[in-house]
Symmetry: C2
Subunit: 470 residues, 2 copies
């Protein structure tokens, strides 16, 4: 690997992700128009407010072709929450007549305008990010912090890093992805002063890694013992310079940090554009799934149910929690989870989609009996009552003595993973609330080759599962 | 339960186990004759020696019908080991012309005489049991200690206790049984002064239990913390009053102590003669084994091989060690041992018998792949070399990232217990030396219903396994 090779790759990627003059001008013009419309709408209100553009489009760090404009309407802190929401929606609907309401911490209007996806979000104009009343109040401070420090060179580096993270699948602070947010990307680029120094450093990080940009800046990885002493126990900690009680990387999963580090090494070892622009995943078909199951010799089971009617950020943590609950129960019962995944479609849509908990176990069937250890024979009454409970139980083997204890082999509750899934035991495991409710309606259990039918709807997810990249 | 009921049982048992006057007289007469013959033979030797009767026949604690006479010939400590052995065998063959040589710590002669099984054992006439040169030198001291203290009442109690222990299967200090020796029985009876007080106390023992009869005597269970502080960590410790460095109960297994305690409770709860004289075990047949396997739904495998040509006390520890090695390896590999046993015939005989390691596993078959965790991604070179080792391995799934680590699913070495048993992996587990040698010759592996064929030769052992008493 030579610097030249990486430079050449970065140059080509940069060409593809840097918006050209036309695109920039068009975004500027539309933003101005939207701002004007918002200000006009504000004049109709009984309170004063101002409009500010935030996000990547405000800082020229957006990727060519992205068409997102985020406008925040900042209201005085004197008005109450209800007024804020009402006025915010008034302005939103005035600016975006065809928009619809969405809900983050409070409602806002989202809509298309001149080909751009526009979010029009009301917030409080607080004096400092530490005084926020709602999470969105923080955003203008992030924007101001970066605007004051960003140069065109840093913006170019931020675009490269975003594209790289998208390419390797770790970009996005939503709870489905659990990756890096745009703000986090821009802070990391600011910390290291460029794309290459960041990637070179990240390849060598030893999590937990901690950054605090409130000081003079410059890369300053705090030694692990100090990081452990901090109040965050996340693998990557980036103190929010506008609010030091917050870790900007709180959402990032350990696995995605590891994936990022892995791909930083890959990029340095063998620079290539495909890490930024990977081929799309080809969906696997049912025959492909069957082939993998046959080759793996595992026992696949799937719980299939209607996707609960909640937003993505609520759904995925619940699906993962449910999957973990099932996998742990399988392990406790001796079925030994080999690997597991969860996927869903129709998330956040009114028409119901399908959600799946998919588990491969190592064990397809267990004996009709299971070993059950009683107390040591010498513990007197406790031992005697165990013995008496089983002495006349025709269904049990024993009691007999093993290593000083009474032992019986009693009837096993569930001999197969699917028997467990089809029983009430499923509801004893730690399921997410809405998943539990959905399963309380009805659900299907697919076993072995039957799971191949899921490829129809989830071919990409199953390809990624059976042919994992990293 | 009333005392009367137990008394009545003990009275009936006592009648059955107490030798009558004829039997006692006959044993006395034969012993005298054997002693005379031995003394005559000693006169031919260039050294002096004396003859002493030891064991239960010497102390009137034998069970009616037992026909064992143990005579020890005590030689002066001046002669060397080789002379002792030579002179000892000379006397032995003179006394028992049809006898054959056996080997404990040194050779001795065993033979039949007038319908009695006679052991004629040479030993050194040391001054104290702490000065012994070989384990057999200790026996005359045991005998002297008990002779000096035993009364006819104690002898009766000892006979009851031996019969009870035989009945419940815990009598015998050989390494196949791992139970109570005759000497241990007699010391315990001496300690408690009778059968009933011993049984009542034993029902409540909290192992580790420790006795030291060197003092004034009387039941004195040392508190557990003191017992743990002692130099023996056996569950039952009875300090040998003739040699305080020795635990008379060293051979007794934890399981057999627990069984004894269990049956002491049974006897007190519901006194019955059948605990002393149980029905013999009816051998199970092949159909019975298949029925159990079917009901249990377990996966049975058996390693069948020629019984190694060693004595019982060598063979059984090795069989157990080998069985433990196999069972542990099954557990490590995910087959999950449900229960296991070992049995053999033709032990110590010249014609070769059959030995068996029999294991039931919970798991019959595992997937073709197994999860293999690599290092955390961030550990640099170590992680990179793991990744490189598997990145191009077509047979493996991955590497992918899970919880910050590289993980692969690689080909599993053995998918079934029987595949492991048929491979060299069998020789990687902790096998007993002679078992390992025997298996190195040849062995069969039986699977599932095939194991039912073992009922032909081992019907009793398999009945005890599938219908365990305690």
């Amino acid at each position: 690997m030579t610097d030249d090779a990486l430079d050449a790759v970065l140059e080509r990627v940069s060409e593809r992700v840097t918006p050209d003059a036309d695109e920039r001008e068009r975004l500027r013009a539309v933003t101005e128009e939207l701002t004007d419309r918002a200000e006009t709408a504000i004049e109709e209100l009984p309170v004063d407010a101002d409009v500010t553009q935030v996000g990547s489009s405000a800082r020229s760090t957006w990727l060519a072709g992205d068409r997102d404009i985020d406008l925040f309407v900042r209201f005085p802190t004197e008005i109450d929450r209800e007024e804020l929401e009402r006025y915010g929606l008034d302005v939103g609907h005035a600016v975006l007549p065809d928009g619809h309401e969405e809900y983050a911490e409070h409602p806002y209007v989202k809509g298309e305008y001149e080909g751009f996806d526009v979010d029009l979000v009301p917030c409080y104009a607080v004096d400092s990010a530490t005084e926020i009343r709602s999470a969105v109040d923080r955003t203008p401070f992030h924007d101001a912090f970066l605007q004051a420090r960003y140069t065109p060179e840093l913006a170019e580096a931020a675009r490269l890093l975003k594209r790289f993270m998208k390419g390797v699948g770790v970009y996005g602070s939503d709870l489905r992805t659990e990756g890096f947010s745009g703000y986090l990307v821009e802070l990391l680029v600011l910390e290291y002063g460029g794309f290459r120094p960041l990637v070179e450093a990240a390849a060598e990080w030893h999590p937990p890694v901690r950054f605090d940009l409130r000081g003079d800046g410059g890369p300053a990885e705090v030694p692990p013992d100090v990081a452990e002493a901090a109040e965050f126990d996340d693998p990557l900690v980036v103190i929010d310079p506008t609010d030091p009680d917050r870790n900007v990387a709180a959402v990032l999963s350990e696995a995605n940090l590891a994936r990022f580090q892995h791909y930083c090494r890959e990029l340095l070892d063998e620079p290539r554009e495909s890490l930024f622009f990977p081929e799309p995943t080809e969906p696997i078909d049912a025959a492909g799934v069957r082939e993998h199951l046959d080759r793996r010799g595992s026992h696949a089971v799937a719980v299939v149910f209607d996707t609960p009617d909640v937003v993505e950020d609520q759904l995925y943590p619940q699906l993962r929690r449910s999957l973990g609950g099932v996998a742990d129960e399988f392990d406790r019962r001796g079925f030994d989870t080999l690997r597991a995944t969860t996927f869903a479609d129709g998330v956040g849509e009114t028409a119901s989609g399908t959600s799946v908990l998919f588990v491969e176990t190592a064990v397809a069937e267990l004996p009709a009996v299971e070993r059950h250890e009683g107390p040591p024979v010498h513990v007197g009454e406790h031992a005697a009552s165990f013995y008496d409970a089983y002495a006349d139980d025709e269904s049990a083997y024993g009691p007999f003595v093993d290593a000083g204890r009474y032992v019986v082999e009693r009837e096993r509750e569930h001999r197969t993973p699917e028997a467990l899934l089809r029983s009430d035991t499923l509801f004893d495991v730690a399921l997410g609330t809405h998943v539990e409710t959905a399963l309380g309606g009805s659900y299907d259990v697919l076993v072995g080759d039957e799971t191949a039918a899921l490829a129809e709807e989830f071919g990409e997810e199953l390809r990624a599962y059976f042919e994992p990249e990293i």
